[in-house]
């Protein structure tokens, strides 16, 4: 025993500097797991893209995992401007434009109202402000179905039902809890001394808001823009219920196209249309990077 220990102890004497890197099963296992996971996450989008670049003949002849042999953007063109929902054959471009018309005002209005709410709730708490906030947070959690029918009746009686302004208003209302929370948390994280100093300097409610807090709000506003853009773009249920035929957003139109296909399904066109619908949020995600994650974290309601 001791004969073996001694040379072993002696053999460490030359160890110097960093331990040399050796092959480790642990590291190999980590990378193997991450690789398999990455494949799982990439497979669906890969099949969507590859299918959309095939002709229907090729889709039938090969399978979902085969790459397109002769890539063509025919299906993308068809999906954009020719795909039919029933008798209406205008492609998803109508829905694309509708979604734009919805998302842009929704984002702008959400920012204005949300920032103002957050400002009041952080610095101007009065009796009853807490109650408003509590009700608003409760609103973040209620399933849409809970209020949908009364809202439809209300909107019809106001003449908003099925109109673009009506749909935009609904979006802003349901986005309000989270957007307000984001701004409130952001302002609450700023030193209160800024607000106190401004008051000592004699600035009033609106002056402090416009001159001091609005210019400081860029970081959270970026987060809100990302959050509301993807949220409103990805919405289905509000567009379906409040949009009517005229204002159907892209998601609703995509569903109509796929659901109303008769005869043989054009999978390549379907997938191209799906990719087109996914494009805007994907783009926002790719461009925004870490801001997107911050948006999720900020939106994760911290009761």
């Amino acid at each position: 025993m001791s004969e073996q220990v001694l040379p072993l102890a002696a053999s460490t004497a030359h160890h110097d500097g960093p331990r040399p890197a050796t092959f480790s099963w642990e590291r190999a296992g980590i990378y193997a797991f991450l690789l398999v996971a990455a494949l799982f996450f990439l497979l669906p989008i890969y099949t969507m893209v590859s299918t959309s670049l095939k002709t229907m003949a090729e889709v039938r002849a090969t399978n979902v995992l085969m790459p397109p042999l002769a890539p063509t953007i025919e299906a993308w063109g068809a999906a954009w401007s020719q795909a039919c929902t029933g008798l209406d054959c205008g492609g998803v471009q109508v829905g694309f434009l509708n979604s734009l018309k919805i998302v842009v005002p929704v984002v702008v209005l959400s920012i204005l109202v949300g920032a103002l709410n957050g400002y009041v709730l952080s610095f101007w708490r009065f009796r009853g402000a807490n109650l408003v906030f509590t009700v608003l947070m409760f609103g973040a959690f209620i399933p849409l179905q809970m209020v949908l029918y009364p809202l439809v009746r209300l909107w019809s009686s106001l003449g908003l039902y099925g109109s673009l302004p009506g749909l935009i208003a609904v979006h802003v209302i349901f986005g309000l809890p989270v957007v307000t929370l984001m701004y409130r948390n952001f302002y609450a994280g700023l030193p209160i001394e800024i607000f106190k100093a401004a008051r000592v300097d004699g600035a009033g409610f609106w002056r402090i808001f416009w001159s001091i807090f609005v210019p400081m709000s860029a970081p959270i506003t970026i987060v809100v823009v990302i959050w509301q853009t993807t949220g409103a773009w990805n919405d289905y249920i509000l567009g379906l219920t409040f949009g009517g035929r005229e204002n159907a957003p892209m998601t609703v139109q995509l569903n109509n196209i796929i659901a109303s296909q008769t005869g043989e399904r054009q999978f390549n066109v379907e997938m191209a249309a799906t990719m087109l619908t996914a494009m805007v949020p994907l783009l926002v995600y790719m461009v925004s990077g870490r801001w997107f994650v911050r948006g999720i974290t900020a939106g994760a309601v911290k009761g």
Binding site: A9, T12, A13, H14, H15, D16, G17, P18, R19
Partner: protein, 362 residues
């Protein structure tokens, strides 16, 4: 026996050198304090001894074994952290026993060790509480307890008292010292607090920019600082520095300061005195005043510039005609007043002389 040794140790991150060819030996049972400002490399050195910090070159030896490539758990060490690093969701008992349980120590043995640690540190009443329910001082006592149960040969402390308020710090400092006497194992302790260093250490290593400026007993470090840097770092209020020249007059070295020349006969030079620019360092408590001012090597006329009463004594900041500032401590009952004349006596035997260019002790 667990001697700790760093041999020719270097750590670099890209361009930045954290430690440069450092050699250090801590004999068995000694309490070594690594002292220096933040960024001097003291924590890096401690972490590399623990095996938590990859090194660029050199070796670490603990207890006569080369542990350079060994895992932290195989180095026979235990460590206390500034942020306590207690496992927050475990009770104190679980915190103390978890490491042993994972290491496969028998339950009876664990219970015994936890019992012993709890006795030593008076943790009995808190064994079933969680860290969140304890005060900062109690948490650090638990962290020390977690180190005790490991029955390691070397204890490492990474600024363990920095997060505590002043009173607790003093209390726990005494506890750590008592513990070290009791255990007799080797300890290495990182701090930027000179009082902690002076009170706890058998040996202090003052570090600066990845090097050890001086290694010595607290007395040596305080009385005979090896460099101007060490002299300035230790002592509060800081040592007074007077810039002048060394000259040889009639075969004897003198310190020329303005018109004055101070005889250096009674100063024990480290090497033979040579003429050149030099800095005289005098600690505030070594400056004589009042009736004692005359009996020293040199008398300087000053006026009182500013007073800082400290309770037990008063810090007096004086200024010479030439504008040199000199600080000293006087008993509060002397009641000095700002603007008063204050003759001061300086004795070179208790002073330090440094080469102005290199900062080295002469």
């Amino acid at each position: 026996m667990a001697e700790v040794e760093a041999r020719n140790l270097s750590i670099r991150y890209g361009e930045f050198t954290a430690l440069e060819k450092l050699d250090l030996t801590v004999p068995h049972g000694q309490f070594l304090v690594l002292l220096g400002p933040s960024g001097c490399g003291k924590s890096t050195l401690l972490n590399s001894i623990a095996g938590l910090q990859p090194i660029t070159s050199g070796q670490i030896w603990i207890g006569g074994k080369n542990v350079t490539w060994a895992e932290p758990k195989d180095r026979g060490i235990a460590m206390v952290f500034q942020s306590y690093a207690l496992y927050p969701k475990m009770t104190v008992r679980q915190n103390l026993s978890f490491g042993l349980k994972v290491a496969g120590v028998k339950a009876a043995e664990i219970a015994q060790r936890v019992q012993r640690a709890a006795e030593t540190l008076q943790l009995h009443t808190m064994l079933d509480r969680r860290p969140a329910e304890l005060s900062g001082g109690q948490r650090q006592r638990v962290a020390i307890g977690r180190v005790l149960v490991r029955e390691a040969e070397v204890y490492l402390y990474d600024e363990p008292l920095s997060n505590l308020d002043a009173q607790l710090r003093v209390e726990l400092r005494r506890e750590i010292k008592r513990l070290h006497r009791h255990l007799g194992s080797t300890s290495i302790y990182v701090t930027h607090d000179q009082v902690e260093a002076l009170t706890l250490a058998d040996m202090i290593a003052v570090m600066n920019k990845g090097r050890i400026e001086q290694l010595g007993s607290p007395e040596e470090i305080y009385e005979r600082p090896a460099t101007r840097y060490v002299a300035a770092f230790i002592g509060s209020p800081a040592m007074n520095f007077i810039d002048g020249d060394i000259a040889i007059e009639a075969g004897k070295p003198v310190f020329k300061w303005g018109q004055a020349s101070i005889p250096l006969d009674r100063y024990s030079f480290a090497a033979e005195a040579r003429p050149g620019k030099a800095t005289l360092g005098v600690r505030p408590e070594h400056i004589a005043h009042g009736e004692h001012a005359g009996g020293q090597d040199f008398l300087v006329e000053t006026t009182i510039d500013l007073l800082e009463p400290m309770g037990s004594d008063t810090l007096v900041w004086c200024r010479t005609k030439e504008g040199q500032q000199i600080g000293l401590r006087v008993p509060t009952d002397l009641r000095p007043r700002e603007g008063d004349a204050m003759p001061l006596g300086i004795s070179v035997s208790s002073a330090s002389l440094f080469d102005t260019a290199s900062g080295l002790r002469l």
